[in-house]
């Protein structure tokens, strides 16, 4: 199992976009009529075309639905991150993690219920997300120092903390909520703009971890075969 975590960035995006565009435009002329399924395909493809509009719409107007979906899905991501961190800390032991998953689901349900039916409270939302973020950080710190045996061999183990530290710095924007410059760039926009550049760091960490774990498993299996 040898692969290069640094080598995966390539011109995939341009290729994919070009291929879909060509397919949708030229398939009608190039593929013979009994086989092209042109009219079926137009119906089937209408859904993906809509999907790209959504996230733009969701910040475009501050109506209730858009705001609520923005908040709820943000919280879903944060809570799920904490769950994943716990899962990694305990190396996927199901007897611990199904109860915690149930707890998180119940909490998320209560959060949605209280936000919709009691009070749509930005402060409450913010508190939950900040607390979950800090718990997330603590779980990863635990993993770094008292993880699962051979921590010293994991040279990549600081990379998760690097990502989380930068994320916390970006989150400071959200805490010190400053008014928009030129009516455009406020704290929330800055936060979103900064996190774009942090996403690849997080996947890079997971890639390194996957590489280490998979090679470890392969070695174990080969040792079994020898025995």
């Amino acid at each position: 199992m040898n692969y290069c975590c640094e080598c995966i960035h390539g011109p995939v995006l341009a290729f994919s976009i070009r291929s879909t565009a060509q397919h949708t435009t030229y398939s009608f002329f190039t593929i013979p009529a009994p086989y092209n399924h042109y009219h079926n395909r137009t119906i089937a493809q209408s859904q993906p075309h809509h999907s790209w509009i959504w996230s733009t719409i969701f910040h475009a107007r501050d109506v209730k639905i858009s705001e609520a979906c923005d908040y709820f899905f943000a919280t879903s991501q944060v809570l799920y991150s904490v769950w994943v961190a716990l899962f990694r800390l305990f190396r996927g032991r199901f007897f611990i993690l199904f109860p915690t998953g149930g707890f998180f689901l119940l909490f998320y349900g209560h959060y949605i219920w209280s936000m919709t039916n009691v009070l749509f409270d930005y402060g409450y939302h913010m508190k939950i997300n900040l607390t979950a973020g800090i718990v997330h950080l603590l779980v990863w710190v635990l993993w770094i120092f008292w993880g699962d045996g051979h921590e010293k061999q994991r040279r990549y183990r600081w990379k998760c903390l690097q990502f989380l530290g930068l994320l916390m710095l970006a989150a400071l924007c959200e805490v010190f909520d400053f008014p928009p410059y030129f009516g455009l760039l406020d704290a929330h926009a800055t936060w979103h703009g900064l996190t774009i550049f942090l996403v690849p760091l997080w996947y890079y960490f997971w890639c390194e971890d996957a590489k280490y774990e998979v090679t470890l498993n392969v070695n174990k299996e080969s040792r079994k075969k020898i025995d």
């Binding site: 692969y3 733009t56 109506v63 879903s76 008014p179 928009p180 009516g183 929330h188 997971w206």
Partner: protein, 179 residues
């Protein structure tokens, strides 16, 4: 499928939400300005909703009634449109912010939001242009990793594989819905 159904449930819940208030919209100027604007422009009292197919009354064959296919995208886009009330609120917000700026007062929020510049794109007035743009861009790496580079960060034989793939799905759902 699961994601889109979850979205619909959440949006159904979101229809019952109240409105948050801020110093901007609590100010006397803003309240009187909006009230005056509503009356002078004859803003409608009730927001029109889609007709329900469940409670059509007794003795009526609902299959005979011509009805519009419920189009959720159309419903959401209609919700996003600027109506009489929102136009009034926006114009009053702009006036009040300008007055504050001219008198060297600090900027205030309106309904929990900063007063943004409205930018017109394809006939729709867009608030928070940069936030929406950056959200879209945030989803792009998650999508790319999910679709093209899944086997690198979550290879077969790695015990986190399904949970990490689902993590990407959650993130894509957050930034680019209904994928």
């Amino acid at each position: 499928m699961l994601v889109s159904s979850a979205l619909l449930v959440l949006c159904a819940c979101a229809l019952v939400i109240g409105v948050s208030s801020s110093p901007g919209d609590r100010s006397k100027y803003f309240r009187s300005c909006t009230a005056e604007c509503f009356t002078s422009n004859n803003c409608p009292k009730r927001i029109p909703r889609y007709r329900s197919l469940l409670f059509t009354g007794d003795g009526i064959d609902i299959t005979r009634i011509p009805y519009e296919v419920p189009n959720f995208l159309k419903f959401f886009v209609d919700q996003m449109k600027w109506d009489c009330h929102s136009e009034c609120r926006h114009s009053c917000m702009v006036d009040y912010s300008k007055w504050l700026e001219d008198n060297n007062r600090p900027v205030t929020k309106f309904f929990g939001k900063w007063p943004f510049r409205r930018i017109s794109l394809w006939g729709y007035g867009i608030q928070e242009l940069l936030s929406s743009l950056f959200s879209l861009l945030n989803g792009v790496p998650h999508f790319l990793y999910l679709v093209f580079w899944r086997d690198y960060y979550a290879p077969k034989g790695y015990f986190m594989r399904p949970w990490l793939v689902f993590y990407s799905v959650v993130c894509v759902n957050r930034y680019e819905l209904l994928l």
